[in-house]
């Protein structure tokens, strides 16, 4: 396969979140009818730009637009004339009719109570049917929780595609908006996937887990810039790039670099690559957005669309509507097929490289700038059930939990008291220690016999005058729920020496920067004897000679994580944390000679 697919979505929002608020500030405000007209005009302009460039779009009707004859008429006309898909979004709920009926300013569907979710869905889908005479094949929101998708599929089984998450829009987006934007949606895949019935973020492993839809992310985001920065600055949303101030003299090559890097992901995914563009009308309103004037907002939209059109004209892009894409995706993907991305920095000039991997068992990120340390790990194998919304006990946090998140929980540790979440390897010789986290390197990708292999360029460490060249290889076997990690000693300045290794993983659990209750987590080591610690913040260590595993059972996220050695002869250990360092460490310790290697596995399982 050699395909780069583009989904273009537009929504006649009528009362865009931003325009309504902006209108109320400073210059006397605008009437609701004035906003309606401006918003519809923006939608019409977006449609016009897409059609001028020869693209068909997916028109996601909003609740408010279903009350507007002109919006409905445009959708019908464009469906007939351009082949646009008439779809339905659960964004854009706010309008007079909605407020009168539901008596609330809430507008994010995943935060409503389940009863209200059902009522809103039936109302919106019913209204859609009333206006168009059929039900939509696709839908979406910023996030679609598993119970919501399940309800929609039961009631409206024709729905096959949904915008279901915003990649890494979580605490970072909250902070960027002065702690006021409640899209806690971290931890999902960055490219389309088939959500499981249990948790939208975790892909289905088989037909039994299949939620029945193909999910697409809300825009395609920079896999490096968004990991540490505001997700809303770095995506295939031209005005987001302006929001990030990533332009100079009205030019924004970064946007094209981002699109091209997404195109390049074909080489990691059997010739398939994807992009999604979805700009709400508020981002092209006449008042401008922050310091970007209207003219620049529109120019960025036109330029981006023209760039996509140029790719299509050269045979390098194919546009599809959402439902077309769902059919295409299912025709060429198996459940267990992973999504891979060896992503390089295209903005900061750092040469930094991250490898992202997602399958039904895990999402993880390997940072080559830290010697191949695992800096993010989400245990999809656990399919953590996390109902979200009013009445669930979890009103807003839709993020999938991590075990490792080096940005939220410290990562490689740089001060004197405590530890941070990361998986790496340390080497020792004559009392000196070196962690691969401090060895910047690069990696190459290959696929062999159902395995995706990440081979890192060798790095050199120096311990008490001994120079050692080490190479790391990460192997992801499809469907295994494991990562195989090999550390090879390629060279030693004194070949007669023996060095110590500590293949370790420091982890915890959570969805934000703040620690969770670690009490009750079970830490177990197996080997010549089995040792167990029940977490109580007492800084204890369990250790088994001739270790066969070091394990943690983390009940709050229904996860068992194990570190397993490839050979006997090393010890397995588990270290409890303490109040100032609420983590745990699992590891393997042993020795290596020149030319030797140690292999270990990181395994994720459901705890129950």
């Amino acid at each position: 396969m050699d395909k780069f697919i583009l989904n273009i979505l537009h929504r006649p929002e009528m009362v865009p979140e931003y325009a309504q608020n902006a209108a109320g500030k400073g210059d006397g405000g605008a009437s609701e009818s004035g906003i309606y007209k401006e918003s519809l005009d923006i939608f019409k302009l977006q449609q016009q730009i897409a059609h001028e460039n020869g693209f068909k779009t997916t028109i996601q009707m909003t609740y408010s637009s279903l009350f507007n004859d002109e919006a409905v008429s445009i959708a019908k006309e464009h469906h007939e004339k351009y082949g646009d898909e008439i779809s339905l979004t659960l964004l854009g709920l706010p309008c007079k009719e909605f407020r009168e009926k539901y008596k609330t300013h809430d507008f994010c569907i995943w935060m409503f109570s389940m009863d209200d979710k059902k009522a809103v869905v039936d109302d919106v889908f019913g209204k859609f049917h009333e206006r168009f005479g059929f039900y939509p094949l696709s839908t979406g929101s910023y996030y679609m929780d598993a119970d919501l998708i399940g309800y929609i599929k039961r009631q409206y089984p024709m729905v096959k595609c949904a915008v279901a998450t915003c990649w890494e829009e979580g605490p970072k987006a909250y902070h960027t908006c002065n702690n006021s934007w409640y899209t806690f949606l971290d931890g999902g895949p960055w490219n389309p996937w088939i959500p499981s019935k249990q948790n939208t973020h975790a892909p289905a492993a088989d037909e039994n887990e299949d939620s029945g839809i193909v999910a697409v992310p809300h825009i395609s985001r920079d896999l490096l810039a968004c990991f540490d920065g505001n997700g809303s600055n770095f995506g295939t949303h031209p005005q987001n790039v302006l929001r990030g101030m990533i332009y100079k003299d009205g030019r924004f090559p970064y946007l094209y670099n981002l699109i091209d890097q997404y195109r390049s992901l074909k080489k990691y995914n059997r010739g398939y690559a994807y992009n999604m563009m979805f700009v709400g009308p508020g981002w092209m309103n006449k008042k401008g957005r922050w310091e970007a004037p209207y003219e620049l907002l529109v120019k960025s939209y036109r330029d981006c669309m023209a760039y996509y059109a140029g790719l299509r004209d050269r045979g390098e892009l194919q546009d599809m509507t959402m439902s077309e894409f769902a059919d295409f995706y299912r025709s060429c993907h198996t459940y267990k097929q992973p999504e891979c991305a060896l992503w390089k920095d295209i903005l900061y000039g750092s040469q930094k490289q991250l490898f992202w991997y997602a399958d039904p068992y895990m999402r993880t990120c390997v940072d080559m700038n830290q010697g191949g340390a695992i800096v993010d790990l989400r245990p999809y194998a656990a399919k953590v059930r996390r109902p979200v919304g009013i009445g669930t006990g979890n009103v807003y946090d839709a993020s999938y939990p991590f075990l490792i998140q080096s940005m939220y929980r410290a990562g490689y540790f740089t001060h004197y008291a405590g530890k941070g979440t990361i998986k790496s390897c340390k080497f020792t010789y004559k009392g000196e220690e070196a962690d691969l986290c401090l060895c910047r390197t690069k990696a190459g990708f290959s696929e062999e016999e159902g395995c995706r292999i990440l081979t890192l360029d060798p790095v050199e460490i120096e311990l008490s005058g001994l120079k050692v060249k080490i190479q790391s290889v990460f192997t992801f076997k499809e469907g295994s729920s494991e990562i195989k990690i090999t550390r090879r000693v390629l060279e030693m300045s004194d070949p007669s020496c023996e060095i110590g290794f500590d293949e370790y993983m420091t982890a915890c659990y959570g969805t934000t920067e703040y620690p969770e209750d670690m009490n009750g987590i079970k830490l177990i080591t197996r080997g010549e004897k089995t040792e167990e610690i029940v977490y109580a913040y007492r800084d204890r260590e369990a250790c088994s000679a001739n270790g066969t595993s070091a394990e943690a059972v983390i009940t709050p996220v229904n996860t068992k994580v194990s570190v397993l050695p490839g050979t006997r002869g090393c010890s397995s250990y588990a270290h409890e944390g303490y109040a100032f360092s609420p983590m745990f460490t699992l590891g393997l310790r042993g020795t290596l000679k020149n030319g030797g290697e140690v292999t270990s596995w990181l395994r994720l399982e459901k705890a129950d």
Partner: protein
Amino acid sequence: MAQAGKGRLNYRCPSCFMRDLDIDMFYDKEKKEYYCIRCPFTGTEEEVVKLNEMAKFRYKNISDRITDFD
């Protein structure tokens, strides 16, 4: 002192932007300056524009077209 409003464009606070915070500034017509409602930043439009340019210092590839992704 008169109530503050919005200026010609809806500038964000450049100081907060550099710490990944998008915060609208307000405009004091009497002093002819923008001010941040969260941090102590104040500045004229000219200063804000200059600082916004400075905030781009971290984007070393801002003007580069990249074609090699290996």
